[in-house]
Symmetry: none
DNA sequence: AATGAATGAGCTTTCATTCAT
DNA sequence: TATGAATGAAAGCTCATTCAT
């Protein structure tokens, strides 16, 4: 495997990289790849066994790296956890960004309810969210990360409400509406685990109707 | 629950318990007390450090018992976790029971929205819920416990919807409505952690209005 | 059970005890009974689980005594082990005593070969002997006990050889013969465990013939 | 056995091992060394304190390894015990193998009586045998190992008896003779512990004569 | 005499982390 | 860059033993 990797390095360069790329840049790029591999592997292990039951050796072995080597890319297990939370958070923000770029945000949101429900009901994604939230309860760094991301999303949604009814939505309850809207989706994650037989189509229907009314 | 037990003792058992309560009875009483002490201490430790970071020694020391002695009351750490989840679940069911005993369940629910919101936004309670849900993701015993309790609550809420509109609530979306209603409250737990500045009164107002419309 | 025991105490006295037996004597007797009960229970537990895997609690529970109470009769677990070894040793000596009291010791021994073989091949008795011998390897008190008993048995067997051939058995090899004779029986214990399919009758036949020749 | 391994390396592998032996090969070599060190240390500790009184920490410290590191070579303490039993068994079989390769097995056996007696009377070797046998009484894996080895040795001895008297040894008592022959040696292990003053020369003399007669 | 609550030392085992190579 | 040998600190758990009652 080290051999294979070495070959890749020399062979592939000219094609997908700028010609005079510095050796340092090259190295940084590989380092980034390694970081992503580690995060991927850790994510899989954490999902199955939880943050504190998954061992570094396990993570390393799962993609053929030595445990010791991980420490060249992350200072500690904690930092890996933080890295994973960061990716979650980034994905979360990306979605909000998509919504934000739409012209009719309300319509876009309603169009996405189906996807959103499916996503939130996915039990394995949900389980990790809980792990993260539990971690946030005691790890200030993690807490700060999820709170910061949440603030950004709230700001997007606030704008959406304002866009819908420039005057109608009194500032008075705007934040409440945003909170309830977000709670609706967040709450689905618990639903998925606590009621595995839940019918997705039904939920989507009801949810869309509730949201539509909130926006009226 | 301790209250209930105390009632039993005075109320029902004059026959087999002498006035100077039997030694065996007193022992059982102390044993019960110890079990509760352990659960209380564990709860506190778990809240601060999580199920898997809190050690038995820590729990024991936190209320002055030796670690070894705990094993006279609980067979394993797992069993303590299960015991704590059971207490949560019991409390959860007790609330549903209260609702169930009301004549006008819809009105009772709306009256309780304020309390419900306050409860769900309590960050320390929320943190434990996440810990429990994360645990449920990999511990089947715990999963089964929360699912069973959830099923009971759902059945109460289904009845509430039916009571409101004997014919109006088509069976078709009944479960969806129940799910969304529960998701609303569940979701508040994430809100509380992710947005600590959330205004409770605002949320209550919006939430009450959304719920009222769902029931119409 | 304490009740039952109390009844025994009062009820049975006159019959099986001298009339004016002192209270102290009575107590000593009960204490003896308890000691035997403890040894019996310990023996059973040790047989199944070994000296060091059997716990005091286990032993106590197996016959309805509390663990703590055992310490009123034995100072430590070690002492129980010693007590058990002592009983083994006593039984061993009793057999030698029987032989010793016979007029024709050689004939008596040959008559007993069958029983001896059966006894030594009993795997559960054998297993305990090994436990004892292993213990003797590191516990001087136990070692001393088995060595002392062995010396007595050897002296009986020496006498047997002399009785058979007053002049023939040169002192020169007398001890060697005794040793080999004892080794024959001792060795059967290993045979029983290592070869569970061993045919007892065959062994007895061969063994008797070998012994007869040694005595000629 | 280590000797055998060393031979393999120099003799047979010029092909797949470069002169500066491969890193992987060297590592495997060190790993083997470590396994042997652990078994050696464990053997010594077990001899002094017994399987269940000797702690992993003790074993590790006795040759300067950390306790945790042992688990990189053996999955559990049980496995170490099994490893030690395996070494015993291998040695035991090696002796039977030697005998088997002789042309005149009977003569070879008689020549070896002296060594055999010395070996069996060695109290420290004997003590470990008892530990092993006691363990066999409750650990099926260990029991199976000693029984399998015993079966092999019996088969060699059966052949020896047949070789001596092609027709004379009726199949009828053949197994009995083998059993008694083995019991003689096995029994010496108990003799050595129970009678430390035993004169080895005497025993050898008597034993040789008894064996010779059995074979006649 | 008898209980069983309680302790504390010790056990096996796991694991994040370091470091020589 | 990459390995994996090695450590040491904990973890969960067991148990002989003591002691108030």
């Amino acid at each position: 495997m080290p051999t294979a990797r070495a070959r890749d390095r020399r062979g592939g360069r000219a094609v997908d990289e700028a010609v005079p790329e510095s050796a340092a840049g090259k190295r940084a790029q590989i380092a980034d790849l390694r970081r992503q591999q580690i995060l991927d592997a850790a994510e899989a292990c954490f999902r199955q066994r939880g943050f504190h039951n998954a061992s570094m050796a396990e993570i390393a072995k799962s993609f053929g790296m030595s445990a010791g080597h991980i420490y060249n890319y992350f200072k500690s297990k904690e930092e890996i956890i933080a890295g994973i939370v960061q990716r979650d958070v980034d994905e979360f923000l990306a979605r909000a960004g998509e919504l934000h770029r739409e012209r009719d945000m309300q319509r876009a949101l309603l169009d996405r309810v189906d996807d959103g429900v499916a996503d939130k009901l996915n039990p394995s994604k949900a389980a990790r969210q809980f792990e993260v939230m539990a971690e946030a309860g005691r790890n200030p760094q993690v807490l700060q990360m999820v709170q910061a991301a949440d603030a950004q999303v709230r700001s997007v949604l606030r704008e959406m409400f304002r866009q819908t009814h420039p005057d109608g939505h009194s500032g008075r309850d705007l934040d409440g509406k945003v909170a309830v809207l977000m709670a609706l989706f967040d709450g689905l994650m618990l639903r998925g685990l606590r009621n595995p037989d839940l019918n997705r189509a039904q939920v989507t229907r009801v949810l869309r109707s509730v949201i539509a009314q909130m926006m009226r």
